[in-house]
């Protein structure tokens, strides 16, 4: 069975929904998940029509997106509190999640998401991130130091380049080998594809 690659950005509420759902769905399907934190901002900025939530989208679509996120979170049982600052910069979170070992990365990533989308905390602030890491029972100083090494920073830049090479243009994205799926609403489809491609 192939691995399900999960590319996620801490600024993205749809990435949060996927982060809360993917382990259960993948386990039920007998699939391994590889968590790939990244940042979508540099990719969106390459576009002539930057579709960032705070730029260019017309008021009707922005209002819709907010309602859609609220409806879906309620449906999934996720206690969303809309961040007073949105979107928050996910760079520090991505560096930290990348520096964490794969066995602790999923729970740590969900904790960062909940700091942002449930507790309305400023996840680009190192003090906040330190609290979140410590609350997971992890060595916050060591993990923050690992997150901020040049090697880890450069590694994240290389990951963004790899995302572009895979054709990724939004978050969350899922990869089954070369097959790309975009959006929390394609997670079930990606898992079905991993089990048995139909095309």
């Amino acid at each position: 069975m192939p691995t399900l690659e999960f590319w996620y950005d801490f600024a993205s509420p749809y990435s949060w929904m996927a982060a809360e759902r993917i382990d259960g769905l993948a386990a039920a399907a007998g699939l391994a998940v590889r968590w790939r934190p990244f940042i979508i901002g540099p990719i969106l900025r390459l576009r002539p029509d930057n579709p960032s939530p705070l730029q260019n989208a017309p008021p009707a679509q922005r209002a819709y997106r907010r309602r859609d996120v609220e409806r879906l979170c309620a449906r999934y049982g996720l206690p969303l509190r809309w961040p007073t600052s949105y979107p928050r910069n996910g760079l520090l979170g991505a560096r930290l999640a990348r520096a964490a070992s794969p066995d602790i990365r999923p729970a740590l990533s969900r904790a960062i998401y909940r700091a942002n989308f449930v507790d309305d905390r400023e996840i680009s602030d190192a003090t906040v991130i330190r609290d979140v890491v410590a609350a997971q029972g992890l060595d916050a100083d060591a993990l923050l130091a690992a997150a901020l090494t040049d090697a880890n920073k450069r590694g994240l830049v290389a990951d963004v380049d790899a995302a572009i090479a895979h054709g990724i243009f939004g978050a969350p994205s899922f990869l089954i080998g070369p097959e790309l799926f975009w959006g929390n609403d394609r997670l079930e489809l990606a898992i079905a594809w991993a089990q048995q491609p139909w095309l």
Copy 2:
């Protein structure tokens, strides 16, 4: 039980998928569907970042969209043949579907979609549309004449204005009273909402 309003554009492959699925899903849920043909072009052109499939979207996203449509159609059992001209202008189809009585509108609309997305026919051509209508056993001359009256043309313009007033910015869209859902991938959610809102 409220009515499910279905807003669709004949240029849109995701609208086609919804048109093929909505009657079965709504019937199973005990819901009535009101089919509302419209054209999304005038709404997209109001945007600074016109997201029309042929304008502005970067190559990675255009390639993804095509693959996504192919995967979904195969999954739904729809025999997609990608139109050699895409997107085709859906204006004549919308005028015609609007002029048709509500009892024949769903089947006629699906026939127009299949002309475009299965038989690769130019649905903006009145000769093609006449064939499609006649193949449904309908009076093609009478329906085309009704489609092209000033009253029907003005009615469609008013429908587009109504769509904007409802906050519609893409196709397909679904309305349960004032509650808006966008995209074929929100059809099941819209039906669940019609049965019991959860927020």
